[in-house]
């Protein structure tokens, strides 16, 4: 007895073959990415664009690893976008490197037709990769009315890993790397690289760094400090300087690694694992790319209340983060309205509040119309937060993404692979 006797004869086979053919053919013709629509929109008047965005949905890919950030986006930004512009904001989880793969796959499978998402949270090496693969739409950012408020004098904002973001990504926040310690366990934390090495040797098994983005930022900062300052690494990638800096870093690491947690035979997978180890007293330092994460994580109960941030005198890496519009954004108008809203003084102020996120503003605060400068000045600083001038004095810019790429590769190959 046949359940579906007629379907089976050849029909299914043909259907299967069609699926196979369709899938393979999808990526066969590789056209230049269609960057037009965001660009075209940028040429028209802003009011037209806002009108076009009304009633649409913007899907925004972002890192969703922090409940504080999620709450800011979901509970503060989204309702206001809906209320003021009639745009629904849906934030979805995706980290930079994954976005590149997804967009490449979308292009291979669908060519220039509409993709899934309209806005991307990116910076640094992801921006470089997206540009390399021509996956970003632009230029469009100069059309944002709020772009005029951005602090054009800050090298950290105007250069993203030494690349010119002009037109292809819009800044929306700034963070600075900091070590986190417990003031009860470590009343006098080290504040220089040599002091840190001495502290590690004096406290075997109490220090480590993770093997993801945060850990690498820590290593890059060390490389600048040990390699003669960030200036030596600026102005493009230089192989010889890199090797010199890397060797200095690796010999420093070799000398302290035996005193690392688990004697440096293994590293925590990510910063969440670092926080867990720190909170339970397995290690005495954790770290963050955001100087204010200590404040939000204490509030969330993830870190002990006596946690504090500390910077190294050799300087710590500060970088800005941005939003970009992919080449195949289904809703570029909505994405641009959202990017503009993120640059508004009220959105930037809310974001900077310690109890919200503690993310640094990218606006030129003194140049803002009243009453904004006063309001930014009034942002209550938490006991655990570092003062603005201290941060500024220690901030070091990012350098060419190739340093990042090479260092990660070499660290995995040399330092991680071979314990002792």
């Amino acid at each position: 007895m046949h359940l579906f006797p007629r379907v089976g004869r050849g029909g299914l086979l043909r259907a299967a073959a069609a699926v196979v053919a369709l899938a393979l053919a999808g990526g066969a013709c590789r056209e230049n990415p269609r960057a037009a629509s965001a660009q075209e929109l940028a040429e028209g008047p802003w009011s037209t664009l806002v009108a076009q965005a009304r009633g649409t949905t913007v899907i925004w890919r972002m890192w969703r690893g922090d409940p504080a950030i999620n709450a800011y986006v979901d509970k503060w930004v989204a309702p206001r976008m809906q209320e003021q512009f009639g745009v629904e904001v849906q934030a979805v989880d995706s980290q930079g490197p994954e976005m590149v793969n997804t967009l490449v796959t979308e292009r291979e499978a669908r060519g220039g037709t509409a993709g899934t998402t309209s806005l991307l949270w990116i910076n640094g090496e992801t921006f470089a990769q997206l540009q390399q693969e021509h996956l970003l739409a632009g230029p469009w950012t100069m059309r944002l009315p709020n772009a005029a408020l951005v602090d054009a004098a800050s090298p950290i904002i105007t250069r993203d890993f030494e690349q010119d973001p002009t037109g292809y990504e819009s800044p929306w926040g700034m963070v600075q790397f900091a070590l986190i310690y417990d003031v009860e366990r470590t009343p006098n934390p080290p504040t220089t690289i040599p002091a840190l090495a001495a502290w590690i040797r004096a406290h075997p098994g109490r220090f480590t760094h993770d093997q993801s983005f945060t850990g690498l930022t820590f290593l890059k900062g060390l490389m600048y400090g040990l390699g003669g300052g960030v200036e030596r690494f600026q102005h493009g990638f230089d192989e010889a300087r890199y090797v010199q800096g890397r060797d200095a870093l690796f010999s420093w690491l070799q000398s302290v690694r035996p005193y690392f947690w688990r004697e440096g035979t293994t590293y925590p997978p990510d910063v969440a694992a670092m926080h867990r180890l720190f909170a339970n007293g397995e290690i005495d330092f954790t770290m963050s790319n955001n100087q204010n994460e200590v404040v939000t994580k204490v509030r969330q109960g993830i870190l002990p209340p006596t946690s504090r941030a500390v910077l190294l005198d050799e300087g710590t890496i500060a970088n800005a983060h941005y939003v970009g519009v992919p080449f195949n954004a289904p809703n570029p108008a909505g994405a641009m309205v959202l990017a503009n809203f993120l640059l508004s003084p009220e959105a930037q102020l809310e974001k900077q509040r310690g109890e919200v996120w503690g993310d640094g503003t990218v606006l030129n605060v003194p140049a803002l119309p009243e009453p904004w400068p006063a309001r930014f000045a009034d942002v209550a600083t938490d006991a655990a937060a570092l003062p603005y001038d201290v941060l500024a004095a220690h901030a070091r810019p990012e350098v060419h993404p190739q340093y990042h790429t090479h260092l990660l590769d070499d660290w995995r190959r040399v330092m991680r692979a071979d314990a002792r």
């Binding site: 004869r9 899938a23 793969n101 997978p269 995995r412």
Partner: protein, 279 residues
């Protein structure tokens, strides 16, 4: 091909088509023709991935942890299945881990077995381990102890389910006959019950083993940085900041697929040679 094979073959192909296409794409990407950073036909990715010591170390480590975990799970599952067959409470308890997602099981392992985990706190309270560092490293450790236990915990439930089902189909009369033919209770178990239980459950055991080779979430939370587990290697390479190296991810993915397919095929061949196995 005979006519009666056409419809079934078409149905099977249709269901498998996404995976067939997927494998085709993976091969193209491994050869540098698809994916981020793709440009031209090259064996660079293949050479880099297969020539790398860390790949083979990861393969070995992943196979070893998966094998040990499967062995532990199977031994525990058989022991329990033989004893709780008749106990509804026992059966319900045994299959509980099926309901717990892998991420959750990994989180539980972290909370339980890390050096500052619950077990460590108990030994601390008992005065055995003054500090977390005195507790043995079971998480992110070279031997993958917590990973093996978490794997085993999840697969245990699945194997109990299978073993109880197989035991239910066994002919109890043959045990009695074997007794009167002169076999002791122990001999009956090892010569009659066990071979039949094993042949009934071996596909499930192999499936569990192959599944663990590709399981991502648990190693992501519990495995050490070196050796790097196979799924973590795939992920790490697929998001490498150097776009030119992402092709290696597809090579390692193909390697994982081949391992799984090889295991299943080898098991199929072994099984066909057994007496009394028709399929």
């Amino acid at each position: 091909m005979t006519r009666r094979n056409v419809a079934p073959l078409a149905a099977v192909l249709l269901i498998a088509s996404p995976v067939i296409v997927g494998v085709a794409y993976t091969i193209l990407a491994a050869l540098g023709l698809r994916g981020a950073g793709a440009s031209e036909l090259t064996v660079r990715h293949v050479a880099a991935a297969l020539g790398g010591w860390d790949t083979w170390r990861g393969v070995g480590w992943t196979l070893a942890t998966a094998a040990v975990a499967t062995a532990v799970a199977a031994a525990a599952a058989f022991t329990v299945a033989l004893r709780v067959q008749q106990s509804p409470l026992g059966r319900l308890l045994a299959v509980l881990p099926l309901a717990v997602p892998h991420v959750a099981a990994a989180l539980a392992a972290l909370l339980l077995l890390s050096q500052s985990g619950w077990v460590s706190r108990l030994t601390h309270a008992a005065g055995l381990t003054p500090t977390p560092a005195d507790f043995p490293a079971l998480v992110y450790d070279r031997f993958g102890v917590s990973l093996v236990l978490a794997f085993a915990w999840k697969e245990f439930a699945y194997l109990v389910l299978t073993a109880v089902a197989v035991l239910g189909t066994l002919d109890r009369a043959s045990d009695e006959v074997a007794r009167t033919l002169g076999a002791s209770a122990r001999q009956v178990f090892w010569r009659i019950t066990w071979p039949q239980l094993w042949r009934g459950t071996s596909p499930a055991v192999i499936a569990a083993f192959a599944f663990l080779i590709g399981q991502y979430e648990m190693p992501a939370l519990l495995a050490p940085s070196t050796p790097t587990a196979l799924p973590l290697l795939i992920y790490e390479r697929s998001v490498d900041p150097n776009l030119l190296r992402r092709g290696e991810a597809y090579v390692v993915a193909l390697l994982a697929l081949t391992l799984c397919a090889g295991l299943i095929a080898a098991h199929g061949i072994w099984r066909r040679r057994l007496p009394g196995v028709t399929r």
